[in-house]
Amino acid sequence: MGYTQELMQLIKRVEATRPARVARKKAGQEFPALSLDERQARLEKYHPDYRAGGLRELKVGPSKGYALAKEIADLFEARSRVDPDKIDLKEVHYETDTLVIGGGGAGTAAALMAQEQGARVIIATKLRHGDANTMMAEGGIQAASKGWKDSPYFHYLDVMGGGHFENDPELVKTMVCEAPKAIAWLESLGCMFNKWPDGKLFTLHGAGTCRKRMHYAGDMTGAEIMRTLRDECRNRLKDIGVLEFSPAVELLLDDKGVCSGAVLYNLETEEYFLVKAKAVVMATGGSGRLHIQNFMTTNHYGATGDGLVLGYRIGVGVRFLHATQYHPTGAVFPEQAEGLLITEKVRGAGANLLNIDGDQFVFEREPRDVESASIIRECTDVAKGVPVPGQAGKFGVWLDSPMIDMLEGEGTVEREFPAKHILFKRYDIDIARLPMLVYPTLHYQNGGLAYSPDGTTTAPGFYVAGEVGGGVHGANRLMGNSLLDITVFGRLAGIAAGQFVKGRGDVDRLSVEHVRRYHKELEDAGIDTDRVSPMLLPDYMTPEVKKRQWTTQYVGTIR
């Protein structure tokens, strides 16, 4: 397979400008970065968040009046899968101290820490333990770990600047101060980060960093963290039970409003189960599979924003959900790889972004939103995008990976990006020799449920950690701060939840009054809908098949 003839012709233009670009880079001359005002102007003109009609004001719930992506608003303005009149709250199937919802990085870290507080833990997760966005993270994890050139002070500035200074300062402070501890913890659990022989960790730049503080494990950093945490969980199976293929569909409160468990749905047997718990940690991750504005996504199959809905229904507000992160470099060719993330580390390592003429049009280490907006601009108004073969009207730009070998030495691409190298090799494209064709792809849910540094929320007994939460990244997360976020806040929420259960007696009466109230609120707001949420799984069925499923009932996307 490989690139088409037309693309190979166009690549010649990239090759023609490459030697000069490499020479400039070696001499330390970068493409001029945008000023803060120029950044803002570019975002307003080209970023999808600013597109007319993309956002809608919520008519119900704690954040009523707040405008966010209409795909998420649809989930909030939908009915529960649970009928409060029919559910039997006396039939409890599992009892535990801490229920963790979501077996990704944040949830697993929380489970480990809650267990260390002496709590019994159940992790309920939608797919397999570890089928999560955490598994997919490639680039790395930030932490100011090198005292001779970096500190939490500079990390703080970078996080705030990346988030357009709107971030929750206390959350940021906690994250940057806990960061080195998080790295030490992962190291002690046996995460194989890339290191020098003396034990010093490798670090690189990411977009928006002023110091090289991105720690990594090849280009499988998230996978390495996820499988290590999961493996450690499996060593503690006496205290940590894992229920796979059992997404939570509703939270349970007690009669005083303290969070006390959840309703789970067994995707395989289609049964509902009740878990009673003394504290609940919500760690369901992001929502890329909502395909906001029809964008392709890098996210895993289960990223449908379920935790947002559940938390919202018990009264926890949301923030920064108006801002969605589009990763500037998602693959657009070949078609089968569409949407797949090409880690930012490729740009961190020096690869330029180029238009159809092989010319640079943006500095490759702008923050993500600015970078994405610039690519969209190049492919629309400037009209210098590279046409994607076989997909009329679709364009991309080049990401010049071969530069990396020229800058850092032959073999660097293969060594530093083994997973992507082998993936493209399957399509007969050697990314150490040929550039990749990319376009922005839906990547990260910048915002989410509001929480405090220890994971607590406005709802007692209810904790939030990871991508489902919002505040620490403001309106735009920088690469490497999310793996950090989930490790830091996963740990802290686990500790807080583990402590909370100690002071809480037995849970007696379970309640779903909040669901009844929420349904009432929907009705009062004139929202008469048969939409249900959470979504649980995206719908990739073809309409033809659905038409022939004469007797099949769908509740939302699920049979």
Binding site: L36, S145, F154, Y156, Q336
Partner: protein, 260 residues
């Protein structure tokens, strides 16, 4: 082995596929039953096109979680092919099944106490000694990992080598499904990696130093100042922060050292 290599192999073994016959839809056989699907799809998307709503066998959709192990055969070939459903393109007349789960022995251990040597590995996984060197595991690994090599490294007690060789293992379980000696290779591999990182490689001193510095409260005041600074000041500090050059050596130091 990658699809391309497998196919190349295939074309050497039997007549090459007749590509001229390709129309938009191609027949594939899902667990023996025929479905016509667009030829540009991955196996995973083809299953969905055929009408399956995936519950098992689908995680990351990006080739890293190992949920979608698939085995298939091609007409006219005696061989078994393997691939990740989310990464492998359909081929006309392939007949396939997914193996979304394959049970494997997993030892419980304490990572702080277990030793990084052959004895400990054998104690945790006695079946390691039964490897008969058939290399079936390596031939069936969709990530092109030298599985047998890492198993024999583990058996020799070369834990670090086993760790390095197995780094890109996605724990899909195909190797375990085909192993005549009934090993669960991927569980042995992750133990080797954790042992390597935990016990064999030196700890990062600079991390511990930074943790101590933070705990001493050294950054409390500078950070408080940032938290209470007005937007103007913060923006100025941000814009003026000193950048470590891209090509700077590891031990580069900034001019401004006040807040280190």
């Amino acid at each position: 082995m990658s699809t391309a290599e497998q196919l190349q192999d295939l074309s050497q073994e039997s007549a090459p596929l007749d590509l001229s016959e390709r129309t938009d839809l191609v027949p594939i056989f899902i667990m023996g039953k025929k479905y016509d699907v667009p030829s540009t799809l991955t196996i995973q998307k083809a299953l969905e096109y055929a009408g399956y709503q995936l519950i098992r066998g689908c995680g990351c959709r990006g080739g890293i979680c190992g949920a979608c192990a698939t085995v298939y055969r091609m007409p006219g070939s005696p061989r078994i092919f393997v691939g990740l459903a989310c990464q492998t393109l359909v081929q006309p007349s392939m007949y396939l099944t997914m193996v979304p789960f394959f049970p494997a022995n997993r030892a419980v251990y304490n990572i702080d106490e277990i030793q990084p040597d052959a004895m400990a590995l054998l104690k945790a996984y006695p079946e390691l000694a039964k490897c008969m060197g058939c290399n079936t595991c390596a031939k069936s690994c969709p990530m092109d990992i030298q599985v047998m090599e890492y198993i024999s490294a583990a058996l020799r007690g070369d834990v670090e080598r086993a760790a390095e060789l197995s780094m890109s293992c996605v724990m899909c379980g195909i190797c375990a499904s085909r192993c005549p000696a009934e090993l669960g290779q991927y569980n042995i591999a992750i133990l080797c990696r954790r042992l390597t990182a935990r016990h064999l490689r030196p700890k990062a001193q600079h991390v511990a130093e930074m943790v101590a510095r933070i705990e001493s409260g050294a950054y409390e005041e500078p950070l408080r100042k940032l938290i209470t600074a007005d937007l103007e000041t913060l923006r100025k500090l941000y814009v003026e922060r000193e950048m470590e050059p891209h090509t700077a050596p590891e031990m580069w130091q900034p001019q401004e050292k006040t807040y280190l």
